[in-house]
């Protein structure tokens, strides 16, 4: 037994011994599937377990960080090219998503995940593994998400995460693009007759911790001399609960989140209104670990492919037909019938065909999950294609 093996066995043991009482259903599943004790160098199965514990207790989080850190130091200092191999060997993409934000990532009563962020993961799984259902979704709170990605518990984080300089430059992460251009807004009860965010002088505002929202709120409050009082909750459910009970005058988060929450959690969605002001830019997108450029490129280009497919009219329904018949060079490149673009990414030539068959193009993903016909009824707005007045512009696949 060499040192690497020894540590993995030992570290598993330590993490089990340290947290014997907080076994969750998820963990038991990990046990059943035998994902626990497998010791494959370069694949930190035990991190999944450790990070699960973080959900339950903060002190355990600290221990887990230390334990994960120490284990990783020996196992794999750098991970270049490792993620793709690990995903293929595992036969499953592990994707970090929101614990429940209708339209973006939410599980239904059968445990089936759906939403815009979820579709991104399914598209990548289809491109890499050939099956959009080979995804394990790991629900994460705002606080857990980066640690989960850094520690290797998840392969990709697709959880309405805002792209900012601090996150990009100092957390060891890469943002693979933007899936939704959002902005932070306020929701208020209609009966208070508030028409503008500028009327929130001295008001209490409920907010979930672990997001960029707190800082935006403060910036806006200072700029407009509002002196709002934030009440910060760890869990989104607690924050919205306090707002709906009337403890706060307003609730703030990204406008898409407000629409989702109003629709899902309010007793009567008509009693709440979303104020016109958007106080920040919130480009939301999927995130991968730094140090694995190959995997970064895959995430980036699957997303670009979905957006470009909309531009060139390739949809879930016509992808097979176009693959067989299209003579458009751009479409042929996207679908791999002329040049083998997939090979450059370490995939096969049908990578985009499978992704499109699984989730459709970006426009279809939008319409199906959050668009005007869904209960969220979000307008396409800034998320329309660049040639239709929006911001969605993908670099070309060629």
């Amino acid at each position: 037994m060499d040192l690497v093996e020894y540590c993995q066995v030992r570290c598993d043991y330590v993490s089990l011994a340290a947290f014997p009482r907080s076994a969750s259903a998820y963990e038991h599943k990990a046990f059943r599937d035998g994902q626990f004790g497998r010791s494959e160098p370069g694949k930190q199965n035990f991190n999944q377990v450790e990070t699960t514990h973080m959900k339950t207790n903060r002190t355990k989080l600290a221990l887990a960080i230390l334990a994960a850190g120490s284990a990783l130091a020996i196992a794999t200092p750098a991970q270049a090219g490792k993620t793709l191999d690990a995903v293929k060997a595992r036969g499953e993409l592990v994707c970090g998503v929101n614990t429940g934000l209708a339209g973006f990532s939410a599980a239904d009563s059968q445990g089936k995940w759906s939403g815009l962020d979820v579709d991104v993961c399914r598209a990548i799984a289809a491109a890499v593994l050939g099956d959009g259902n080979k995804v394990k979704f790991v629900p994460l709170t705002a606080q857990q998400r980066f640690t989960a990605l850094q520690s290797g518990e998840i392969d990709i984080l697709s959880r309405n995460t805002t792209w900012t300089l601090t996150r990009d430059a100092s957390l060891g992460l890469h943002f693979a693009g933007v899936t939704y251009y959002d902005g932070q807004g306020f929701m208020v009860p209609v009966k208070n007759k508030i028409k503008s965010a500028k009327q929130l002088k001295g008001a209490t505002v409920c907010v979930q911790s672990g997001t960029t929202t707190e800082k935006n709120l403060t910036d806006y409050s200072r700029a407009n001399n509002l002196n709002v009082k934030p009440i910060v909750f760890e869990k989104q459910e607690a924050a919205t609960g306090a707002y709906f009970s009337g403890r706060c005058v307003a609730f703030t988060t990204d406008a898409s989140g407000l629409a989702s929450i109003r629709n899902k959690d309010a007793k009567d969605p008509k009693e709440h209104t979303i104020l016109p002001e958007l106080i920040s830019k919130e480009p939301l997108g999927p995130v991968v670990r730094r140090g694995d450029d190959e995997w970064f490129a895959i995430a980036k280009w699957v997303l670009n492919g979905l957006i470009e497919s909309e531009e060139y009219g390739i949809s879930q329904d016509n992808v097979d037909k176009l693959k067989a018949e299209s003579k458009d060079p751009v479409v042929m490149r996207i679908l791999g019938t002329s040049e083998d673009t997939g090979k450059l990414l370490g995939l096969d030539k049908d990578w985009m065909v499978r992704a499109l068959k699984t989730v459709g193009n970006y426009g279809e993903m939008f319409e199906r999950n959050v668009g005007p016909k869904t209960s969220l009824a979000l307008p396409r707005g800034a998320n329309a294609l660049w040639n239709k007045g929006g911001l969605m512009y993908a670099p070309p696949i060629r």
Binding site: G202, G210, E214, L217, T218, D219, P230, E234, R247, R289
Partner: protein, 392 residues
């Protein structure tokens, strides 16, 4: 016949127990030091390898977020360390107030378990069993939901004489406007306290010398109040109060305790009081029956017997476990984050997310609780030594 002196024991040998003990200790310390070094070093190396920035330098950067309630002036442009200080003070505030109320309530309940009245006894028993068997997080959430749901909105605040307001914004109460008059009144009260303490010493000395009993409660009380009154009058009897005044959805003036603070305080006090009640009960039960009988044979009333004979002896048994309860209360206050109270954990969570310094922020939380707990513990140990039997 002179006896031969026994051979002098050799002070040191390779095979002596002392040497082996020394070796074991060195090995143990080295192992622990290596373990700590290994964890810290590999965490740092691993973070560096992944391009995760680390270090405590962020504490000097502007925090950039507001905090709902603060004991010291705080502005979003202040650095992170000041945000932490606000969080620590909020934690200490709820812990200190909580400890005082939990002790009072717990003592009353504990003594109540010995009441001659069956109803009082039963109620105390029921209270203890109910509150110590429901998880404290649930209690916090329950109180918070109760406050947030049941209280009227601020526009329809319950008012008591137009000075006290109870609404979803919490309990708003008037505070005196600070001025030289108020300062003099406080000074007077302070002087009264010193005088009362001197009087108490004198009264005890007189009692021991002559057996004359003087009140050790009412007279000092009167002295303190008289001191405060004199100071107040000397300061020109200022009577301006900063009275809260609801306006739209905010409360102007006065001071207020937010529902978050009240929920955390109430939850912690009611929960911990149940444990303290049990500690007090066991302490009292540990005083042998003969002490009570001896006290009554000396002609002490039941009250006096409890105050002068039983409680002082029970204290020795009570203090160590009560210290643990104080520590528990302080540490349980970290659950405040669930109901939106900006304690140190809440601040650390926000900082963690703004800066991504997970290890540093968690380490700071641990350091804060460790320091607080060790300080509480040191104080209680000092008090314990004072209360312990003095062997002369």
């Amino acid at each position: 016949m002179a006896e031969r002196a026994p051979p002098r024991k050799r002070a040191w040998s390779w095979r002596s127990q002392a040497f082996r003990g020394l070796i074991y200790q060195i090995v143990a310390v080295a192992l622990i030091a290596f373990g700590v070094w290994y964890l810290v070093n590999s965490t740092l190396a691993n973070m560096a390898a992944r391009g995760i920035q680390s270090g405590f330098g962020f504490l000097l950067q502007p925090a950039g977020f507001d905090i709902g309630e603060s004991l010291i002036p705080y502005d979003a442009l202040d650095p992170y360390w000041k945000a932490y200080a606000v969080g620590v003070l909020n934690t200490l505030r709820v812990a200190a107030v909580g400890i005082i109320f939990a002790t009072l309530l717990g003592t009353v309940l504990g003594i109540g378990r010995f009441s001659g009245n069956a109803i009082v006894r039963g109620l105390c028993y029921a209270y203890v069993e109910l509150f110590r068997n429901v998880p404290v997080l649930l209690q916090l959430l329950m109180w918070y939901l109760l406050f947030a749901d049941m209280l009227p909105p601020i526009t329809e605040a319950l008012s008591l004489g137009g000075v006290l307001f109870l609404s979803k914004n919490g309990l708003s109460f008037p505070v005196p406007v600070w001025g030289p008059g108020v300062g003099l009144a406080l000074l007077g009260a302070l002087a009264g306290m010193v005088a009362a303490w001197l009087y108490r010493r004198w009264a005890i000395a007189r009692f021991e010398a002559t057996g004359q009993i003087r009140s050790l409660f009412w007279v000092p009380m009167v002295i303190v109040i008289a001191g405060a009154l004199l100071g107040w009058i000397a300061g020109g009897a200022p009577s301006t109060w900063n009275v809260p005044r609801p306006d739209g959805f905010i409360m102007h003036g006065g001071a207020s305790a937010t529902p978050e603070f009240l929920a955390v305080l109430l939850g912690l006090v009611l929960y911990t009081a149940a444990f303290i009640a049990e500690v007090v009960r066991s302490g009292i039960a540990s005083v042998v029956r003969g002490q009570v009988e001896a006290a009554s044979s000396l002609g002490l009333s039941k009250d006096q017997a409890m105050r002068l004979v039983i409680l002082p002896q029970a204290l020795r048994v009570i203090i160590p476990p009560v210290t643990s309860q104080y520590l528990n209360l302080t540490k349980n206050s970290s659950l405040a984050v669930a109901v939106g109270y900006p304690d140190v954990v809440s601040i650390a969570n926000t900082s963690l997310n703004q800066t991504g310094r997970a290890v540093e922020c968690i380490a700071l939380i641990m350091a804060v609780y460790l320091t607080t707990s060790l300080a509480t513990s040191a104080f209680m140990n000092w008090y314990n030594r004072r209360a312990a039997i003095k062997e002369r």
